[in-house]
Amino acid sequence: MPVAIDTIDAIEKRISHFIETDLRVPADEIDPGANLGSFGMSSVAAVKLVGLLEDEFNKKLSPTMVYDFPTIASLAKAIAAVEPIRRSA
């Protein structure tokens, strides 16, 4: 299934925003291709981020995704490919 570019973009933005506000990295130092560890992402922060993205994009995500896709760009792409949770009517 093709993934809409705007979804990837929105997820990337959300991850960058988290890095800016929670890890307090200046926006101009956030490179979507850099390893998340280079922003000072701790294991607690990684789990927190996964939970946040689950809520905001209505998906069930594995907490290890951050380690399997360790850049903003690759993580956003991987998350965009996960099917949203269907609400049981």
Binding site: D22, E29, N35, S38, F39, S42, V44, G51, E54, D55
Partner: protein
């Protein structure tokens, strides 16, 4: 065939309560496994919040017995046994098995390949030879330790302790020949990576500290709990895993990551299992507020929650207010909050409560507090600082406020180091006589013969008898309930890039105005480094961030480069972190722009 105990058919709840305040915790378990064998003691929830494991009182006791037998085959009395367990119910059986077998348990965080140093130091310091772990963890851990000093550890699988479902506790199981002043376990939360210190907690310390919490909060077998703190942390171990055994309640446990990922699962569990007691460090309440999502909280009722503990970190008034505003519509009452204070050197609990009252707050002058260590009314709106009272202490625990330099007892408006005396003070640091004497055998000037334990925390006891914590005497940084030693972080920074070698660096924290604590690294630069900065300051800062999160699993909030003249040092060249913090807060710290 029923087992005999006291030649009685039953014991009253009062008899069991009294016995639980005297028996070692493993004896309490045997007593309860006899008295109410089929009651569920622990339920474990998986990452979706679904029940995935259980222990009744009898099942846990039988598994503990089997663990004792396993340990007796593999080790000798007094040996240290290190416990490598992921979140789950296997840990508590292993831990109590050690206590029953009179082995000294050493609970520890599971190491990763990247962060193995501290673990190796602890293995070396405690002198463990036997490690106990779930079978599926052992090969991974052995790989991590390959060709390290821990390669010679021998391993036992927790699953090899096979419970005998027909075994019942006998009276003899309570009165095992035990000097209750023997060491039960070593809690490694103190000391830097290079100098870990294992707090020696005795069987009597555990019994006493659990009784203190039980009585000061009026807990009993009906006060069920929900907990998610890690079991290698003193709060998770003493409160989350041992208190239930002594109370005889039903406790629901979950992994720390389950909570951090979806805080609503914690609140759902409190509501579903009608928990009376639940809590965590301040950041737990912060996170539960931040991640509030009405859609996920449909139908929850928090009115059962009577004791919302908040400890192991600075308790923030703003956090309590925010949480209350959000969760009052779900039945949470403001007087549920129990800010508390404790540390491993005092087993865990020092103060908290009384329950059912509004939280005590004191407005004071921040400048007088920082500069003169005095409690006075705020002199201006700007210097106003609101402190939350961390509760009253039990009747048999003395809190003294002492001048840390002169050892003199301070008057009531004085802020000094908190010194403690009472039966829950630990026996000292494992094989570290000097640190033990310094910390555990302090005497107040003019009051010889009575030993106090120095907490290293600054505070005062208010007119309301509440213990107020103002900060740390030493430079220890507490982040999300975890103790970090600035020298460890500074060491990593100095090694992360060739340009930073032999540069001095000061890592310190301060209480941010709104968003909580911030951790700052001020790094000394000389001319060569200034040149480097012009070209690649981003690269350098990225290298520092990477290394610090890699080695210490924490984020730096600010990285500052300062000229040599701005580094505060002692005559012997040691950085003075508290002076650096003061200069930073006053806006006087000279920073190199780049």
């Amino acid at each position: 065939m029923t087992s005999t105990m006291f030649n009685r058919t039953m014991l009253t709840p009062e008899e069991i309560q009294t016995a639980a305040a005297r028996l070692p915790v493993q004896g309490s378990l045997a007593l309860r496994a006899w008295s109410h064998p089929d009651k569920t003691l622990f339920t474990f929830l998986d990452e979706q919040g679904e029940e995935s494991d259980h222990f009744t009182y009898l099942q846990l006791w039988q598994t503990v017995e089997a663990t004792r037998a396993l340990l007796e085959k593999r080790s000798a009395a007094g040996d240290r046994v290190i416990l490598f367990f992921p979140p789950g119910l296997k840990f508590i059986a292993a831990f109590l098995g050690c206590l029953l077998a009179r082995r000294i348990a050493v609970p520890i965080n599971l190491p990763t390949r990247r962060r193995v140093d501290r673990c190796l130091k602890i293995i070396g310091d405690s002198g463990v030879r036997l490690a106990l772990a779930p079978r599926d963890q052992i090969s991974g851990l052995q790989a991590i330790f390959e060709s390290s000093s821990a390669a010679t550890l021998s391993w036992a699988a927790a699953e090899d302790a096979v419970a005998d479902p027909t075994l019942k506790p006998q009276q003899a199981d309570l009165q095992q020949a035990l000097n209750t002043n023997e060491i039960a376990f070593l809690q490694y939360t103190s000391g830097s990576t290079s100098n870990p210190k294992g707090v020696m907690v005795t069987h009597a310390n555990i019994t006493c500290n659990l009784r203190m919490m039980r009585d000061i909060w009026s807990l009993n077998h009906t006060t069920d709990m929900v907990f998610w703190q890690p079991h290698h942390h003193d709060m998770g171990l003493i409160l989350g895993q041992l208190l239930p055994v002594v109370l005889g309640n039903h406790s629901v446990l979950m992994a720390p990551n389950t909570f951090v990922r979806q805080p609503s699962l914690w609140l759902h569990a409190i509501s579903k299992y009608r928990a009376v007691l639940a809590g965590g460090p301040n950041f737990a309440y912060e996170l539960a507020s931040e991640r509030f999502n009405a859609d996920k909280l449909e139908g929850i009722d928090l009115s059962c929650w009577k004791l919302a503990l908040n400890g192991a970190d600075v308790v923030r008034s703003a956090t309590l207010e925010r949480f209350c505003n959000i969760y009052e519509p779900y039945g949470f009452a403001p007087e549920t909050f129990i800010p508390c204070y404790g540390l491993a050197e005092a087993t865990l609990f020092v103060s908290g409560g009384p329950p059912g009252r509004p939280v005590s707050r004191t407005d004071l002058d921040g400048d007088s507090l920082e500069n003169d260590r005095r409690v006075v009314a705020p002199k201006s709106q700007q210097s106003r600082r609101c402190l939350v009272g961390c509760g009253e202490s039990p009747w048999d625990l003395e809190v003294a406020i002492v001048d840390p330099t002169t050892s003199e007892r301070l008057p009531s408006n004085g802020v000094g180091e908190i010194w403690l005396s009472g039966p829950s003070m630990a026996a000292g640091y494992w094989q570290n006589e000097q640190a033990t004497a310094n910390t555990f055998r302090a005497t107040v000037k003019g009051e010889p013969g009575k030993h106090y334990m120095r907490t290293g925390d600054l505070g005062f006891v208010g007119a309301d008898y509440q213990v107020y914590i103002c900060g740390r005497l030493k430079d220890l940084i507490i982040s999300d309930g975890r103790n970090l030693h600035p020298e460890d972080i500074e060491h990593s920074i100095a090694l992360c890039n060739e340009a930073l070698r032999a540069r001095s660096c000061a890592v310190f924290s301060h209480e941010g105005t709104r968003n909580g604590q911030r951790i700052i690294a001020a790094i000394e630069v000389d001319r060569g480094l200034v040149r480097l900065l012009q070209d690649q300051s981003k690269v350098l800062r990225t290298a520092i961030r990477t290394t610090v999160s890699h080695d210490h699993d924490v984020a730096l909030d600010e990285i500052l480069f300062v000229p040599p003249s701005a580094m505060c040092k002692t005559t012997s060249g040691k950085v003075q972190r508290s002076l650096m913090r003061q200069a930073y807060l006053a806006g006087d710290l000279e920073v190199i722009d780049h």
